[in-house]
Symmetry: C2
Subunit: 555 residues, 2 copies
Amino acid sequence: MKRAKLSVLPLILAAQPLWAESDPIKHDSEYYILFSQHAEQWADDDAAVDQRLAEFKEKNGGKPPNIFSILIDDLGFGDMGIPELNAIRGYDTPNINDFSDEGLRMVRMYTEPSCTPTRVAQMTGRLPVRMGMGDTAVDIAGFGLPGSEVILPEVLKQAGYATSHVGKWHMGDVAESWAMNQGFDYAQMAVHQQGQLTIFNDDAIKEQVSVAIQDYDDKYTIDGYFRPDASTMMTVIEGEAGGPINEIRMAPGERWNAQKYDEMNQAFQDKTMEELQRLAAGEEPFFLQYWPMIPLDNTRAGRDGPQSANGGLYVDKMQLLDQWLGDLFSEMDRLGVAENTIVVVMGDNGHFTKYSPQSGFTPMIFKGGKAETTEGGVRVDAFIRWPGMIEADGLLNSIVHVSDLYTTFARFAGAVQYIPRDRLVDGVDQSAALLFSDESKARRDSVIIYSADQPKAIVKDQLKLKLPPKGENPIIAKFYNLYRDTREEYPVSTEVGAWGGQEFVRILSRHQARKELFPDTPPAFGLPYEGVENMRPETKQAVDAFIVRRDSPKQ
Amino acid sequence: MKRAKLSVLPLILAAQPLWAESDPIKHDSEYYILFSQHAEQWADDDAAVDQRLAEFKEKNGGKPPNIFSILIDDLGFGDMGIPELNAIRGYDTPNINDFSDEGLRMVRMYTEPSCTPTRVAQMTGRLPVRMGMGDTAVDIAGFGLPGSEVILPEVLKQAGYATSHVGKWHMGDVAESWAMNQGFDYAQMAVHQQGQLTIFNDDAIKEQVSVAIQDYDDKYTIDGYFRPDASTMMTVIEGEAGGPINEIRMAPGERWNAQKYDEMNQAFQDKTMEELQRLAAGEEPFFLQYWPMIPLDNTRAGRDGPQSANGGLYVDKMQLLDQWLGDLFSEMDRLGVAENTIVVVMGDNGHFTKYSPQSGFTPMIFKGGKAETTEGGVRVDAFIRWPGMIEADGLLNSIVHVSDLYTTFARFAGAVQYIPRDRLVDGVDQSAALLFSDESKARRDSVIIYSADQPKAIVKDQLKLKLPPKGENPIIAKFYNLYRDTREEYPVSTEVGAWGGQEFVRILSRHQARKELFPDTPPAFGLPYEGVENMRPETKQAVDAFIVRRDSPKQ
């Protein structure tokens, strides 16, 4: 049966009269496919959501809820919140497990396959490919998130929120990308991916787990630019919006090491606690973001021995992080903000399998890990707690993409009107599904999984199509039924193959057609670290080396 | 460092004076290694267990607890009791999940790798290799569990228990193997592995999923003995101890089909309900055993469509079984026996991966499935509920082998003295670990995993050695750290390899040395089905064909 290629335009036009707003958010095409089928239901649901949010606000002294968002690095599905899966791997995260019992688990939370794009999606509500941020750079890179993006704290600030960010940032080393320049009132943030800071240091060299220049007479190494010295890179910077920005963890001449990594992490924890106390004492509703760098950890040198029966480097740090989060949750109780604060805890992408099994984590329920587009790369633990508003010990089995948090948080905060209308926003409003614990109220049933700037897989319901390489006919593309085959090891080989290939390619075609209206744009390019007041001489040299590498003849 | 080969004899002698009993159970060697290190603690624990059991008995009108044991076919770890893992696979087992919240999960329950040996181990408390029952026969086989074994109901009966078995048996087609001839007061049981009954039938032939003789003119098939006609095999038999035994599901001339399979399963469920009611009304404490044949299911023909979003054949039947178990649990409440009955629900071995992904189940947390000695073959869901006596919503992360249930149930029933002392018993008493939810009170930290009559792997704590083929030096044998690597995909390649190979070989050597004192013996051989009163003419012919095949010249 031949079907005409669907254009979304008639769907949008048809949908328009039912849409409450005169200037709606511009979504990707699949949103309108669902909207055209559920518009009336969604209008009812929106009214019910509005009512519940109004009730909350009234009870909360006229203020919308605080939002405390915790995004954990490189953590796969099932690592938190399921005591059985703790036990079989010889470790324990009791505080997070208790927390998960108090909240709702978003069982089908999809992230992007690595740190940078996931964080970009959560901050911007958009697929990272839209502004050239689909890649994770570990080195000095000279690019980052453009200032033209309207990130979540900017949206919330317009609705009266105080905003603060602590921890990893990793969305660029150019100044306009940084949290305090992007809309956070205050930020203490690590500029780079921390792996680099721990791997390229003296402790790692001792353990021979580094590619850094060795300390023996290494006469065969004549290119000093090839192997980075992480000590020269910018570490942690701190500043307020509009104010000066300073590096705070390294003095000129200092060398990075495992102990400094531990101190940095402890300092992030302590600062988060401090910010929580400060913000809780303030008049405004707050948005506090904590992006810990642990559990990532790569060197045993200079550390205590195993802290768990598992003993893996990541797993031990996961237990530490559990204590830290437990401390923050207790402090929320003490401060009296547990009831009026939405807390989200989730991973940013799957395990970093390059460090398996020493990390203590290996792929298990899903196949693969970070940087792969199998579900092990993009399915993570994700919990949301909002006492009295979101079901305790609940499960939501709808597909949720990390970008949905942008739109949904904005809705919870009464800030939807500040989401920009001049660009495409991928994140959909999942507030009805969350507030009513009801999968039939979800506003997404598919996700396009990119790796950098290439779409690699499409998930719709329980079906997953692995996109064939360019030029290959999609009707032979491999298909998986995720319910029956979580590890994508048994391609479905029946008629669904031919049918599904076509249907999925239509999804991709609509997505690409929509890009003609809203084209992808490049990231911000610039000179790394410009604008840091106290730049170290070593760092200046590293920037010089970057310029040499960047500008060396390419042909 | 060279160490002398350990003999267990001095350990046993040293242990003797501390052992309360004058005639202790004879265990395998590893038990005495632990006993020599924990004898005093164990004596204290035994006293504490005795006291708690005495208190229970007093409150229970002087009677020990009832025991209701449910063993489910081919079910891997994580299929029951973890709502998140239900959700990601698109099905739901709410009743079993609730049950698991009321009981304790034995997170490291090890079975044997297939149906027959697991059932033998649970019934006899012994490794199936000890009486030649390590294999699972699917066809007419002419052998089975010897009558000389003292199985659990025989032990419990001596302590005053009424005993009943309903469902799968699958421990031989010779009469002396059968439940009603082995110690159960009553049994309604399927003689064979049910796969055969569903695969070799007309519905399966229609679906072309059968190796049975096709119904078209199959002139190339001239050996009518090679492809069995399952309709000729003995199906379900029923009888009381000492009484006549009759086949109850097939009349002469009838053909087996999917509908009959469904009816048989429903009848097992109904009979279990009936037995529960009958036994609950009796004076004696009871031991009721229900071994359902579902979730195993292999043909869609003649059935309703999918019953779950997953839609797999096994998964749909798992949802049905969940309803059925829910009905039994509710009935226990109604009958007032929930409080004084120990209920165990567990799988008998991992998924039957031959039927993946159509079954709806694929290996996930552990690698492999039924008939493999990776953990996917031998790790299963296992829950025990005893209100007020065993921790609700608890976890026990100690290694428990299915044979331990034999010894532990006997202890709970006050029937340890009826466990035979003239043979080796592998099952150890785990009552202290269970009653006090305390891993340090476990009496096992290792398990030798056999496939048929060959030891294939040894697990000690979190370490697993895959035994090398005969003649290969064990110091290069592959090692896995199960905590860090549940799927056994990253062999540990450090010094532990050489050390561990030797230490593990010592475990095996001690195990084999102990066999010199207690040698393995053969199973019972005989003519299939002898003693069934109403044997069908077709079945008699099938026995004749069996004799021809058995007695055909072998050289």
